[in-house]
Amino acid sequence: MATESLLSDEYVIIESITNEFSKEDWASLLEKNDLHHTCPKRIRKSLLFGIPDSLRGQIWPFLTRANHMDFSTYETLSQRKDKIFEPLIQKDLARTFPDHEIFKDTKGPGQSGILRILRAYAQFDNEVGYCQGMAFIAGLLFIHIKSEELTFWAFVSIMFDKNWREIFTSGTPKLVKMLDCLSSQLETLLPEVYNHLQTENLELTCFSPYFITIFGCKVPLQYGMRVADMFLYEGEQVIISLLLNMLSLKQRKILRMSFEELFRYFNSEMAKECFEEFNFETLLSPITKYVESVDDDYDILEG
């Protein structure tokens, strides 16, 4: 494989950017804690390839820069209970990853951990406070990061740097924007699918949980974790790309489905099926490459 040297000394890694990071590379990156000067292409490639499970809990705070934050703030915030949001958070604790080991018990580490994390967030961002869906994001982060403080700041980074908070503000402006974006990309890149969904009268809002919980509540955790690997680095485009690629890879099947079948397929099976059958490189590839031409439909219309 050809190796490429970078002329700029801005990058920490200068040899062979085409190779993904080894476990040792990741460890040394984490030690330097300098995301800004690390080659973006190589990070992306490494994340696509998959990161060492044992380092995920450190890599996520690294990618979100959570490990630069001041820790005493969290201590203070996590102790204040908000009159309005506290009961809402409490209600959702047992309903977040209810089958996962650390979330099973009311007094277990998962439920009490995200209670404090979400409580702190409600203080930190009073406009958003707490909204359903947030517990899944905090929960997914907490399972891997394990430290409440780091999870909190990683969560804050998603909400502010990636502006995910506007999914949870009144009228969900960010969600509306992303669904519009999905819709226009679908119309351009996969017109057959787009038209079929229109014909069947299926609204793209059926994809909203994928955005709201970053796939968290919709797929087995081992896949949710891989989505988060990419999302924490690249943001919303990851969700849109995943959905477009899935719709593209499954389009033959989708085009045969009725409204009810489509809703059910999108609501549960499609994502899981795709993660089982394809790797992340395929699922996040530039969409045009994978568009199969489904000429049969045209023939019927034209004939």
Binding site: P98, T199, T205, S208, S293
Partner: protein
């Protein structure tokens, strides 16, 4: 099975009152103490028979979260029946039902039938909403009220079947069967034109 009628029904109510649990109990006969929270909607269907009519119920089980309320019209649009659920141990959830009724009256199909379900009746000791108050309210808006428990199964079949009966009654009173939920044909025409147009301008082969 031959289906005579197909009705779209929507479940609405505050978060964690048991909308999903009621729908799951009704359709699958199951109760899961640890139901995950719903972030958008679930779709369930059940075939039933009322008198001599076989009916397919398409049940849209929505998320209760207030801030996703902007998405709700996608689900209650063209619904012929609504199951409005509150939790008898949570006073606020009852007032949420009242606000849903207001919204549906303004925005939903004008023939929509309401049934109110006071859920979690297995927790009678923690009751916060007097049954009489809920029944009086239901009566006032012309709805039926059921005491339900998704956990024990109490009142579950009855409340869903009541919705189907109410819709059937409205049909027979208005003379013509109320058309089923999915008005598709008008969209198809438009889209076929679009597809053909795209094909011609795209020149992909």
């Amino acid at each position: 099975m031959e289906v005579d009628r197909e009705f779209k029904i929507v479940t609405l109510g505050e978060g964690r009152v048991g909308k999903t649990s009621l729908a799951m109990r009704y359709v699958r006969g199951q109760f899961n103490e640890k139901e995950q929270s719903t972030t958008n909607a679930n779709f369930l269907e059940k075939n039933i028979r009322i008198n001599e009519t076989s009916i397919k119920l398409n049940i849209w089980d929505t998320a209760g979260q207030e801030r996703f309320r902007a998405l709700a019209p996608n689900y209650y649009r063209e619904a012929k029946g609504a199951l409005l659920v509150y939790d008898i141990t949570d006073k606020e959830s009852f007032w949420k039902v009242v606000s849903w009724v207001e919204e549906l009256k303004m925005q939903a199909d004008k023939d929509i039938s309401f049934v109110i379900a006071g859920n979690k009746c297995d927790l009678e000791l923690d009751r916060q909403i007097p049954k009489e108050q809920a029944i009086a309210y239901a009566k006032q808006i012309g709805a039926a009220h059921y005491s339900t428990s998704a956990k024990s199964g109490m009142g579950v079949n009855e409340c869903f079947e009541e919705i189907a009966k109410l819709i059937l009654d409205k049909e027979s009173r208005s003379g013509s069967p109320i058309r089923s939920s999915k008005a598709r044909s008008r969209v198809i025409v438009k889209n076929q034109e679009e597809v053909v147009k795209k094909k011609k301008s795209g020149g992909c082969c």
